[in-house]
Each structure stands twice: as C-alpha cells, then as structure tokens.
C-alpha cells in the first residue's frame, strides 16, 4: 500500500511537471533525429585544383565526383589552395605527380588520396602512361596547413601504368551490406545511451529535489520501510523510464529506419535493463549531491567516460587498464548487446552475458541505495 502510494505520488508529480516530462520524452527523439540527418547527409564533392593535367585525367577526376578547377602552369600552389578553398591540388611535371593537400579535414585528405590512387591505378589515364617510370605505389602527399606560409614540399610521386590490370574485387559482407553507414553501427549505441542518460538525469534530479525540499526526510519520519521507499521509486520512475524507452526504440526503428536485424523484444529488454541501471545509479548518486548543479557535475565523471567505452571507438587498441575500466561501465554491456541484436541480428543466447552484467549492476546499485537511505533514518 505504501509502495502504491509512492508510485501514485511520483506519477502525479511527473504529470504535474510538464517541462520535465517534455525533456524526458521529446529531447532524446530530437537529438536522435538530428544525429540521423547529420550522419546521413550526402557527401560534398571534393574540390581539386589541377595544373598541367591532360583532358583525359580531368575527365576521369570529374567522373569520380571531383570538382576540378584548372589552373595555369606556374600557379603558386599553396596560395591557390588556401585562397580558393581547395581540398587539394594535383600537378604533373613530366614524370612526377605532385599532390598538395589542404588537410584541415583529414578525412577529406584520405578520401582524395584513396580516390586518386584508384584512378591512377585503374589505368584510365592515357596521359599518364607514357614516359612514366616503372614501379608504383600510393600517392604520398604532403599537407600544406592553411596557416603555414612555407613552401609545400610536394613530394613527387612516381606512378605507373603498371597497375593497369587490376582484377575486380568481389566484396561480401558478414554484417550489413555495401550501403552500411557509420550511423547504422552508431545508432544502437545511441539509442541505448539516450535511454541511459535521460533516465539517469530525471531520476537523479527528481530524488535530489526530494532531498533538498526535505520531503525525503519527512517521508523517513513515517513508519515507511527503506525497502518500500526504494521499491516505490524504482517502480514509479520505472514506469516513465519504460514508456520513454519504448518511445525511443520505436521511433528509432519505425521513423528513422535504424537497422534492426534481430528481435525488437530483445532490444526493448536490453534498453529497459539499461534504464533500470540508470535509475538506480541516478538515485544513488543524488545522495552525494547537495544541489542540481552538483548533480550535473556527475555527468562528465559518470556519463561521458561511458560514451568512450560504448563502442564508438575501437576497444581493441586500448591499453589493458583502459579495457579493464570499460568492464565497470554499464553502457559498455548495453551497447555491446544492442549492437549484437540490432546490427548483427544475434539472439538472447549470444547476449546473455551482457544481460547478466546489467542485472548485477542494477542489484548492486539498489543494495547501495538501501544503505544510503540510512542517512535519513538510522533504522
């Protein structure tokens, strides 16, 4: 009965606070949508300057979606790249090919290098073959930083027509397909992260307010048991967390068409577990905060590091102690399970370890919460 009263009160409170309700339900959808559009925006054509290139090569470059601007021989390469905001400048002086890259965006630099290598190697370049020295290799580039006015040491590059006979590679994919984007891999992690983050925030601040206004103390001056208080809070906020989780997951899958190979029930199960962990962690950490601002201070300490270990960055290359650290992060397990289900299409049998880990986190936090309440009543 007391638990029911607690749940009813939390529901009334939440419904009475429209703004918090809005934050909980709208904000994750907003951010998720924004990220969806950012990651799925179409690629911009790379801008390349050309000096001394034969029309054949220029055409080949244009076919490869380069915006090619031709410059007369003797152009000051660095100045032109900086002034005209080119991503790179390609020159041919006799047998040597020189590429100067702006390199303010390393991704673009890599793309240019890769594409040029392909074009040159595939031998569609009649102007190149003649007189080229034997031997081949990738284009070695040099960056001319926008800020540095020094002469670009354009390292000349021999390229050969020797690579003319490249066989077509047939690619097959174990997970996903040729159209897989970074967002497809990212989205399961994002869904899990938003569920975790917003539940953590709402539960933590909700309970903190109770501590600050003295209502928790008053609660503890009644014969209510500590277990009843924790149960009431977990279930009361849990109802909202569950609704929020379902909304985020359905929105991501139906509206944003996030890749979902496995079962949606497993996705919901994992997210609900994560919400539960976030809930118990948020309530626990609010014990150690004395104001909303102090609660916010837990975000860089508790939430942000978890993002690093969620699988956005490859864990394999990390130092041993860093990888050990990832094992104490709830999001690590949640993200791992979500990736497995949503992207790889694995089932419960493959993710039970992650599920178990999340359950252990929740149980540990709940037990700690029981002790933390002793601060308010020594019984």
């Amino acid at each position: 009965m007391r638990v029911r009263a607690l749940i009813k009160r939390i529901l009334l409170q939440m419904i009475g606070d429209k703004r918090t309700l809005g934050l909980m339900f709208i904000a994750p959808l907003f951010v998720l949508t924004l990220m969806y559009f950012i990651f799925n925006s179409s690629a911009v054509n790379l801008k390349l300057g050309s000096v001394n290139l034969s029309p054949g090569i220029v055409q080949a470059l244009k076919d490869a979606n380069f915006d090619v601007t031709e410059y007369p021989a003797g152009t000051a390469v660095n100045d032109a790249v900086i002034k005209d905001k080119l991503d790179g400048m390609l020159q041919i002086n006799g047998a040597s090919v020189q590429l100067t890259l702006q390199n303010t965006d390393p991704t673009k630099s890599k793309q240019i290098t890769l594409k040029l290598n392909q074009i040159l190697a595939s031998g569609l370049n009649p102007g190149m073959g003649a007189g080229a020295a034997a031997g081949s290799g990738g284009i070695v580039n040099s960056g001319a930083n926008a800020g540095s006015g020094g002469a670009a040491a354009g390292i000349s590059q021999n390229n050969a027509a020797a690579m003319r006979m490249i066989p077509t590679i047939e690619v097959s994919y174990i997970y996903g397909n040729a159209d897989t984007t970074f967002f497809d891999i990212l989205s399961p992690i994002l869904v899990g992260f938003f569920v975790f983050f917003f539940v953590f925030l709402i539960a933590g601040i909700g309970l903190l307010r109770e501590r600050m206004t003295g209502t928790l103390e008053r609660l503890m001056s009644t014969p209510v048991r500590r277990g009843e208080v924790i149960t009431g809070y977990l279930l009361g906020f849990g109802i909202f967390a569950a609704v929020q989780t379902v909304i985020i997951v359905l929105y991501a899958i139906i509206m944003l068409k996030i890749v979902l190979v496995g079962s949606i029930w497993n996705v919901l199960l994992i997210n609900l577990l994560m919400a539960f962990v976030a809930l118990s962690l948020g309530i626990l950490l609010s014990t150690f905060a004395s104001s909303e601002f102090q609660m916010m201070q837990f975000i860089p300490i508790v939430i942000v590091p978890q993002v690093f270990f969620a699988g956005l960055f490859p864990l394999e290359g990390m130092a041993g102690w860093l990888r050990a650290l990832s094992r104490i992060m709830p999001i690590y397990y949640g993200a791992d399970a979500l990736k497995a289900v949503m992207y790889k299409g694995l089932g419960l049998g493959d993710i039970w370890g992650d599920i178990l880990a999340l359950m252990i986190f929740a149980i540990v936090f709940i037990i700690l919460n029981l002790f933390a309440l002793k601060k308010y009543r020594k019984l």
Binding site: M1, R2, R4, A5, K8, R9, L12, Q13, G16, D17, T213, G214, T215, E217, R218, L219, M220, S221, T222, P223, V224, R225, Y376, R377, K378, L379
Partner: protein, 258 residues
C-alpha cells in the same frame, strides 16, 4: 497489517499507564568531533506542551531528530511510550514537522495529505475523515484542490502542520512550526495546539527560539550549545531566577553554566 494496529493499541494502553511519553536519558552526540548534544535528559509527560528553547544551532533540531529516530545518539537512551527508539512502529504515533515545509509542490494540498495518509496506512474512509479534520484545523479546507506550488508561505506552513496530524498521532514533534508565519496565524496555531492538548490529550514537543512562545508552553527546557541549561514550568523558572521574564531567565541560566 492487523498486527500493527493491535501493537499500537497495546502501546497506547501501556503509555496511558505511564507518566513519561518521551524519556530522554543522558544522550551525547557529536558530528566531526563537535559535540552537538551534551548529556541531555528530559521527561515529557502525557498531555504536556514541552518547549525546547534556544538559539539557532543550539542542538534543538538534532535533539528532536534523535527522539524521532532519524539520528542515533552516540550514547544514552531514548524511549517513546516506553519503547526504545529508534523503532518503526512507534513512528505511527508520532507526527513530525520539520523546519522545511517538505511538501510536494507539483501536487495539490489534498494529494499531499492523501499521500502521507497512505504512508500511515489509513484506509479510504479514515483518510477522508482525517483530511477533512486536518485541513479544517489549519483553515485550508477551501484551498485543497490548488497546487501547493501556488500556496503562500503561510499556507504551506499550515499544510505542513496538517500533514503532521494526519494520522491522529498521540505525540506531535514540531520543529519551529511558527517560523515565517504572521502573528495572527501564529496565534491561531498556538490556540490549536492548546486545543489538541486539552481536548485530545496530545503530547506536544515544540522547538522555538522566540521567547514569547516559550511562555505558552507547559514546561520548558532551555538549550544552549547542546546542553540543557535549565528546566521547569515558565512560572517556576521566572520565580527561581527572581527575574522579570523568560528572556532574563535564559540570560541568567546561560551565565550560570559558564
């Protein structure tokens, strides 16, 4: 939960046969090496308004929290209705009102009262009856459907008092209940406290730092720096110190201790 009720009934019967509703014996308490309560003893008789008077920071709040069982004394013992504290079942019979109003501002006055009534396991009929009584007591019957966030400071204080009596407890422990309340309402609250005592036999422990409120108590304990510097009825105190009013008693008693 029938057992609870029988148990409480039993407690009440035992208590009726006893003089002391609340018995505090030689309690000490310190936080971080600072002594907050220093050998405090007091007996509160049934049907008494017992005032704890002292400046802010004297240890009044810590003392009442220790009586309720929210704090544990380092040594010494406390019993309420002859039951050693802390004890959950005894809390059913204590109405506690802290210095903070401790209300849920997103909820209406009625929802606040219902919530606390449910925590004390009152059934629906009892809830209805007690909410009508408690809100009438503090003159808020007409404002119950408003959100407490829209209440004035005085209304919140009154609702907080209503929450303290919601389960019809035998003992009321009120921590500075009249702080921030206008004189008229303060007068009304004191009238009500006397009525609760006279008509319903409630035992009331009240803390205050206002001397003119001290005169309205049946019995006083003056507290300074965690120590009880003097005890007695207001008349006794004024006579024994041979001074004009309680304020002078406090000054003289304070000097004696040093």
């Amino acid at each position: 939960m029938c057992f609870d009720k029988i148990y409480i009934k039993l407690l009440q019967e035992v208590a009726e046969k006893m003089d002391a509703m609340v018995k505090v014996e030689n309690i000490f308490k310190s936080y971080n090496k600072r002594t907050v309560l220093n050998d405090v003893s007091l007996d509160v008789a049934r049907g008494q308004i017992y005032g704890l008077i002292g400046p802010s920071g004297a240890g009044k709040t810590t003392l009442v929290k220790t009586i309720v069982g929210m704090e544990r004394a380092d040594s010494g013992s406390i019993s309420v209705m002859n039951i050693k504290m802390p004890n959950l079942d005894v809390l059913q019979n204590i109405g506690y009102m802290a210095q903070l109003d401790a209300l849920y501002l997103e909820l209406t006055g009625k929802q606040n009262l219902e919530f606390f009534a449910a925590l004390f396991k009152l059934n629906k009929a009892e809830q209805k009856r007690r909410i009508a009584y408690a809100s009438g007591l503090v003159d808020l019957s007409g404002e119950l459907n408003k959100k407490t966030g829209a209440y004035s400071a005085g209304m919140r204080r009154r609702l907080s008092l209503a929450v303290a009596v919601i389960q019809d407890p035998d003992i009321l422990i009120l921590d500075e209940p009249t702080v921030g309340i206008d004189p008229e309402l303060r007068f009304a609250i004191w009238n009500e406290l006397h009525r609760l005592k006279d008509k319903e036999g409630k035992t009331i422990i009240i803390t205050t730092h206002v001397m003119d409120e001290a005169a309205k108590c049946d019995y006083l304990a003056m507290i300074r720096e965690g120590r009880i510097i003097t005890k007695g009825t207001p008349d006794e105190l004024v006579k024994s110190y041979n001074v004009a009013d309680l304020e002078d008693v406090f000054m003289n008693a304070g000097r004696n201790i040093q």
